[in-house]
Amino acid sequence: MRSQTDVVVTGLGATTPLGGDVASTWAAALAGESGARPFVEDWAERYGIPVTFAATIKVPAADVLAIPEIKRMDPSAQYAIIAAREAWADAGAPSVDPDRLGAVVSSGIGGIQTTLDGWDTLREKGARRMLPMTVPMLMPNSPVAWVSLELGARAGAHALVSACASGSEAIGYAVDMIRAGRADVVVAGGTEACIHPMPISAFAASRTLSLRNDDPAGASRPYDVDRDGFVLGEGAGVVVLESASHAAARGARVYARIAGVGLSADGFHITSPEPHGEGQVRAMRFALADSGVAARDVVHLNAHATSTVVGDLIEARSVREVLGSDADHVALSATKSMTGHLLGGAGAVETIFTVLALAERTAPPTINVANPDPELVLDLVRDEPRALPDGQIAAINNSFGFGGHNVALVVASA
């Protein structure tokens, strides 16, 4: 029998390529919009970058934050702070003993824009012009440090790094903090801000980005036969997690429960997922076992599905292996078709989508799937949202990262 503490979601916050907050992001996702846009800058021409577009955030951080905040935070921290403020307000700005309030906010890449700006400054102007805030801006724990400072979270501030699984792993770790009794409330999520010519060139060099330059909005097409790679995105998602008893005591609105956390590592290859999905299967099985949710109650799955030729199908087969015939009643959504790939922010934004899908009984669509891959063995929600059943239902959010990191979260209706 499970005796562990139930962990519930009471606040949501985000800034994404689809919108500057959760409501606009969710509305755009349900409407099947794409956040991919051509570069405003002349990077492609100037540097010979083969990719000419990305999914930049819809509302620039400078429109939301004060100038001193922009100047002392790397964009990865700016996005995290925007999302954390929204999530905290959405949760009703709970009164919490600071020693019982934690923060876990991850980034896959870290403060790379600050790092690169610092290098430019050094080469162009010399060491005397290096800004003193450079180190606290570029360090990968900077986003969570700012969130911790802002909210006075003193139970611990952590930044788990696992590439594209970072945001989900952060949420999983936050669940563990509450279950272990180290915190009553944890603000958790992920952020990323690496739309800059250097990382774009580097991702392009690894041949993982879509080159569909003539159609940015159609470039992210998970499970379509003509998919050719992911679309780099940016942004952040943050959730407020609480022990169910803490939430109940203050009469908080509960969106959903994070019922189970499953983690595994492939131990196989630095970038390629293990081809049989063995690690992904273990992560999902661990998460289901941890949750106590039966496979028959899983009605929705937010796939990691980045729109790469190899990765999408490995995940689909893994889901089928874990759920068996119960996969027949799972509405599969690949929301990166709209948001692009937010790397360290992806798992957090997709957890928010999963939570809202259960709370509103609506699975978001997958766009751009003109010709579904014949090897797809699951029921893909295409173009239009789909209603989910009433009653106690659950969903899985998968996130996998370069390095072989696998995270599955089981989310259950409130």
């Binding site: 004060a66 100038i67 001193p68 100047k71 002392r72 102007k125 005397r128 012009r129 290096m130 800004l131 003193p132 805030m133 606290p136």
Partner: protein
């Protein structure tokens, strides 16, 4: 070309304002960086770095502790230009 003290004050006020969020008009000559403007040591070093770049001067680290007020900084920068 040397900046006048008035130009230095205006430029410094802009730098301080962007660093702290205080209105530029509040960055008056008699204000103390620490006591009145609540600027910590890291922010002070940022202001020094930006001021060096803007006015093409060098403000030695050992000199920074002597820059108590905005006026001290304006005078130092004006003198360092020549």
């Amino acid at each position: 070309m040397a900046h006048s003290e008035q130009e230095i004050l205006a430029g410094l006020a802009e730098i301080v304002s962007e660093e702290t969020g205080l209105p530029a008009e509040s960055v008056l000559p008699e204000k103390s960086f620490t006591d009145d403007l609540d600027i910590d040591s890291l922010s002070m070093m940022t202001i020094v770095t930006l001021a060096e770049d803007r006015f093409s001067v060098t403000i030695p680290d050992g000199e920074v502790k002597n820059l108590v007020t905005v006026s001290d900084a304006v005078s130092f920068i004006a003198g360092a230009q020549s």
